[in-house]
Symmetry: C2
DNA sequence: AGAAAATTCTAGTATTGATTAAAATAGGCG
DNA sequence: CGCCTATTTTAATCAATACTAGAATTTTCT
């Protein structure tokens, strides 16, 4: 891989960095040209390499896909963890998580692969990715449940509401194209606004404390209670 | 194709009906096993046919995919049209459309293909599908704009809010598996509830009366933005 | 029944693209 | 310089599967 400035890193990290570049290139190809539409040659070309060179970084195309998905899953999990520790009420935690996840997907973490080819992974890899996906969903549902308990979220079917929100999030790579602009801000604020209104209880007395639009960065939001469930993982 | 009871239909419609079965089988395969994971043989097997037989119904695999996507687009467009004519306020129209679309996706219209392989379509087919997708998005955004105008929807960036909602909808085939139960009701009511709360203005006074005195927006006549819709074929 | 049309099957072909083996290049270091 | 390792390339191989040609079978119609 050409044109790097990684001299100050040791061997192994240089290797990981390059593989990371590979993963991002692959993710972008997959999202733009579709899975069946991207050959290893395409990905390699984007890096100024030949297809065979990729096998220095991954054992197979299957592993390449797996690592792309793994990366997406890890980024999501990290956003979840951050949201959970930064927020107070269930609603606050959920919205912070969502904000972080959006930031990651649309930011420097590079394009995130949309997981449309899980079924064609190897059994072990498929199991791993599915496990992480399920855990992620459960974690989010736990946040919703926590919010319902502490009164920051209106009662609802957490499974379905979670499906709706996660769908909106997961679909982003489908239409988002990084064009430098302030688009990311727009996505985050608008999505979060919509989610907040959708989740918050209609009774303003209960919802009142939920703080206006851009409280993501502001840790000082009025909590309500802080009951209930936490998630494993 | 075996086991039919279509005696009372004429040739052409029988043909179309069978091809429709094919499309549904294909859509289910694509969604369950991924695109690259489904060979024509897989699809054929599900119908008790041999792979070569499929070529009696479609010219190529590319056309099969195209028709799957076309079908999904048409179903969406029809739901949109129904919602628009049945509803009164912008919010009402939007929610009715969403309900119809969910019903269609989770109902007898069979599984709807998730459009993850648009890029590998032929140029003409790709252009057609993209055009329909864009129109669909614009139509929905027009409904949102109409709702904002008539006061039934809180002011927001219709593009982003539309993206969020359509993402939630489009993601459904990813996790929904028809298991006979009343799950579909649950999806529809929970999704719509969430969307309604997310869209409706927080001030009930404004939301209450749909179309107040003056202003533009006789709901029956002129939508605010975006023309279009209506599908051929 | 028997001809004609519709539908499906058998038996390939051909192409694409992943994968591999081994050679070539580059960089650091004694 | 000359060795060692890391990295990339060239040139095949190999398997999967989309697709085709023509035969076989079923259905429809008179």
């Amino acid at each position: 891989m050409t044109g790097e400035d990684n001299w100050h890193f040791d061997r192994d990290t240089r290797f990981s960095l390059k593989r990371d570049r590979l993963l991002r290139a692959a993710a972008e190809c997959f999202n733009r040209k579709g899975y069946s539409g991207t050959s290893l040659k395409d990905v390699a070309q984007r890096l100024g390499l030949t297809d065979a060179a990729l096998y220095y970084y991954v054992r197979s195309k299957e592993e390449l896909v797996y690592r792309c998905y793994l990366r997406a899953a890890q980024v999501g999990a990290e956003a979840m963890a951050r949201g959970r520790e930064e927020g107070d009420s269930g609603l606050d935690k959920a919205l912070r998580y969502l904000g972080h996840h959006i930031d990651a997907m649309c930011g420097d973490e590079g394009p995130m692969a949309i997981m449309s080819e899980i079924p064609s992974l190897s059994d072990a890899h498929k199991a791993d990715i599915l496990k992480r996906s399920r855990e992620h969903s459960l974690d989010f549902e736990a946040l919703l449940a926590e919010g319902i308990n502490d009164g920051s979220i209106a009662p609802c079917d957490v499974r379905m509401t979670g499906n709706a929100i996660m769908g909106a999030i997961n679909w982003i790579p489908k239409w988002y194209r990084p064009d430098g602009s302030a688009q990311r801000e727009q996505i985050r604020t608008q999505f979060i606004d919509f989610f907040r209104r959708g989740l918050a209880p209609s009774d303003p007395a209960l919802a009142a404390d939920a703080a206006p639009v851009s409280d993501i960065a502001d840790p000082a939001a009025g909590p309500v209670a802080g009951r209930s469930s936490a998630a494993r993982s």
